[in-house]
Amino acid sequence: MNWKRSAIAAACAAPVIALFVVGMRIDPKDIPSPLPGTVAPSFALQVFAPGQAPLGRPIGDTVRLAEMRGQVVVLNFWASWCLSCRDEHAVLSEVARRYSGMPVRFVGSLYQDRTAAGTEWIAELGGQSYPSVEDPRARTAIDYGLYGVPETFIIAADGRIARKITGPAEAAVVVRIVDSLLAVASVAKAATQ
């Protein structure tokens, strides 16, 4: 055995392995969105699933983004035919309840689906704490550049999109972002007063 040559050859493998190690930490599906940092596209959509007290809104009510300025908005696109939406459903319902009484609004937006199927789905999964709206012809989804469902946009108090979550949202991630946005909002408020 020529050990010197062996060592040189083994060293050649290092960059390849390093590349894969780095690659394993990157999510190829995490496609960058130009939206975070920009002003969230406005919407005015009708409630079809009322949600539960105290977060609920009556059916037929119009949810306008403009009216929620000054609050953190968590806008979640979902559909009854989407499997991973099932995974995040309970998580989002629970997180929303945790913020009741605070300036945080959760809104579900039904994507490419019948409202009857959406209503049935919510009932099947044991209800949703916050209201869901219908998005005829997916206009709002298109405005937000939806890639698939579920996708969640977190909009800061100043109306800018702070963060986009592709795929099922995790409680810890949502809480971390919302908390920091609340903190920023209260500092900004204190500064203006």
């Binding site: 055995m1 020529n2 040559r5 062996s6 050859a9 050649c12 392995i17 894969f20 190829p28 035919w81």
Partner: protein, 668 residues
């Protein structure tokens, strides 16, 4: 119960494997044949145990035993039996189990057919195979255990991925791919065995390895073609190759294995390229593992990607170990692998093989770079890029065309050197074929440079290969007074490897013509039709008769009955469909294909009005596509002829009585 049997069998197999892996090298070093025999026993025991686990999984699938996690994941009572059985390889854990079983089967074949062979090559090869099996056994008892028990037991499951239960080729493509892919472990084991037993200097291991490689290469070729066919018949886009990372991953080892099949002959005949051959064999195996890593780690975005878990890290560790260990071994022993032969003349068969290897490896590196570049770009520069078909097409076309030409020159040239007269006699006549096919290409309407060149070189090389059969048959007929057919069959059987190779070449020519014609001359048109309205593509007219729907056991189907018209008369009907599976977001397209010698009429149903009043249909005319599938069949026939062991040689190897490794100089 099934879960217990399966888990238990896998759990028991692991210590056998680890013990065998360790005891074999000790047996060789200490000259204890009984220890080596014990290692071989581990190979057999592992095969029995993994077979038991696989059988338990099949029983669990067929009897809908939803207490087994894998069945709960892919099973469904509504799925037809055939698709239930083949869902064995439809998802991650099952595919790993199937992989382990194929590897166990190959290991048994290697040991049982070669254990009489003297020397330490076979024991060391068995050790390598046991080591690879151990890795898969660790996966199966760890992160990819398909036999976890599920509680509470569900009444029904979601069924396999709809795309995987929509076509019969799902029963063909994956097993062939595994046979080819996993089969590359055997040449690798032989190569490492040859290095460790210091037999790599001899050319004998090459002969052994080459026969195996011919067989697994045949499986891999057939698997790639079957995958193309599946994609063509199921995905509804009318294409068969997209340079998707995972398609590339199956193609990379095919390129190096093809290079090896040719360069191995140079070593056998001329004692050249020893180190190169070792590298090709080892590289082929590393590329199969790389391909598996890419599909199963989620590191690269691909249509083929399995759901991911921690398993990617296991594969990463495995690649690292394989890469470092083989590099250390090959580099450390490379001094011994000096070439003793030399090139006599530029006008010789070995020169052509060298060029063939040059182009094939350059091709491999091109595809590898294109496949991994997005990963590099993101790791280094943090940007998302994708490398698409234009890059691969532009880079590969010149190399493909050159290879097509060499496929005709190689068989025509003799070894060592050729005289001027020989060159003229062999290389000039096939030009007729080139001229004919160039004319055909131009008449068909192919105008791109590489399209015409591909036809011209296929014409040249096909003529050259057929001429070899012709010359050989004529010579036999003259010498033995045999009938044409008898002379031909005896010619082929007399030198199976050579003529199997030429037959495989002919298959490649069919594939090349099919790909060239369909990619240059494909025409399509799309329209929303009411019943009675028609659509014309490339002179072929189809008319919508009606839109229909029906419920089947596991799915709902919407279809359109289309009449194919010729000169105003109905000559046939076609039924493109959309299949809706429960729990699936999108319908699975099921195009209908009407094949003829000149090409396929391909209809895909894109959408229908809910009331059945209209249907949107895409019609594509795909020239010569059936030739690709035909070529695939010819390639595998050639590979089987080439790999079939010659009866006399087999008997010899059995007769060689030296059951266990001869004493070796200890390296220590």
């Amino acid at each position: 119960m099934n879960g217990l049997v399966g888990s238990g069998a896998l759990m028991v197999s692991l210590p056998f494997l680890l013990l065998g892996m360790v005891i074999v090298p000790f047996g060789v070093r200490r000259q204890r044949p009984e220890w080596v025999a014990l290692g071989y026993g581990a190979v057999y025991a592992n095969f029995l145990l993994v077979s038991a686990a696989t059988a338990a999984m099949l029983v669990a699938l067929v009897t809908h035993d939803f207490s087994v996690s894998y069945v709960a994941q892919v099973g469904s009572r509504a799925t037809p039996l055939f698709y239930t059985i083949i869902s064995l390889w439809g998802a991650l854990e099952g595919s790993i189990l199937f992989w382990a079983w194929v590897l166990a089967l190959y290991s048994v074949l290697v040991v049982s057919t070669n254990r009489a062979r003297p020397g330490a090559l076979v024991p060391y090869s068995a050790m390598v195979l046991l080591a690879i099996s151990s890795f898969f056994a660790i996966l199966l008892v760890g992160p990819a255990n398909p036999f976890h028990s599920v509680f509470p037991v569900l009444a029904d499951g979601p069924g396999p991925n709809p795309l995987l239960q929509n076509h019969i080729l799902m029963g063909v493509h994956p097993p062939l791919l595994y046979l080819g892919y996993v089969g590359m472990s055997v040449p690798f084991a032989f190569a490492i065995g040859a290095l460790l037993s210091r037999e790599a200097e001899s050319n004998d291991w090459i002969r052994l390895t080459r026969n195996w490689t011919v067989l697994t290469w045949g499986f891999l070729s057939a698997a790639i073609i079957a995958g193309m066919w599946w994609s063509y018949d199921v995905l509804g886009w009318g294409g068969y190759w997209a340079w998707d990372p995972v398609e590339n991953a199956s193609f990379l080892p095919w390129l190096t294995a093809t290079a090896f099949l040719h360069s191995a002959m140079v070593q056998e005949r001329r004692s050249m390229l020893r180190l190169w051959n070792i590298n090709l064999v080892v590289g082929t195996f590393v590329l199969t593992i790389l391909g598996t890593f890419l599909t199963r780690s989620g590191i690269i975005s691909s249509v083929h990607a399995f759901t991911t878990g921690t398993i990617g890290y296991y594969f990463l560790a495995f690649i690292a170990v394989v890469l470092v260990a083989t590099l250390v071994l090959v580099a450390g022993t490379s001094d011994k692998l000096r070439t003793t032969g030399h090139l006599d003349s530029a006008a010789s068969r070995e020169t052509v093989f060298l060029l063939n290897n040059l182009f094939l490896t350059a091709f491999m590196f091109t595809v590898l770079v294109g496949t991994l570049y997005p990963l590099v770009a993101e790791a280094v520069r943090g940007v998302k890029v994708s490398v698409g078909a234009p890059f691969f097409n532009r880079m590969s076309l010149p190399m493909i065309v050159a290879l097509l030409f060499l496929m005709g020159v190689g068989p025509a040239l003799p070894w060592k050197s050729a005289t001027r007269a020989e060159l003229r006699a062999k290389l000039l006549p096939p030009i007729v074929g080139a001229v004919v096919l160039t004319a055909v290409a131009l008449l068909m309407g192919i105008h791109s440079l590489f399209g015409v060149l591909a036809f011209a070189f296929v014409g040249y090389s096909a003529t050259a290969n057929v001429r070899e059969f012709w010359i050989g048959t004529r010579a036999r007929r003259a010498a033995h007074g045999e009938m044409w057919v008898v002379a031909f069959v005896r010619l082929v059987l007399g030198n199976r490897r050579r003529h199997g190779g030429y037959i495989a070449h002919l298959g490649v020519f069919f594939v090349a013509l099919g790909i060239t014609a369909s990619s240059s001359l494909r025409t399509e048109s799309e329209g929303t039709l009411k019943p009675g309205e028609s659509l014309t593509v490339s002179g072929r007219t189809v008319r919508l008769k009606q839109v229909w729907g029906r419920e089947e056991q596991q799915r709902s189907v919407i279809g359109a009955t289309m009449e194919v018209l010729s000169a105003g008369r109905v000559v046939g009907t076609m039924e493109p469909r959309m299949n809706f599976y429960p729990l699936s977001q999108q319908p699975v397209p099921t195009p209908d294909v009407r094949s003829g010698p000149r090409g396929d009429l391909y209809l895909n149903l894109m959408a229908v009005r809910p009331d059945g009043s209209s249907a949107t249909v895409k019609a594509i005319f795909e020239p010569l596509v059936p030739w690709i599938w035909l070529g695939g069949g010819i390639i595998i026939a050639g590979a089987l002829i080439g790999a079939w062991p010659a009866p006399t040689r087999r008997r010899e190897s059995v007769a060689a009585v030296a059951p266990l490794p001869l004493p070796q100089e200890s390296a220590a």
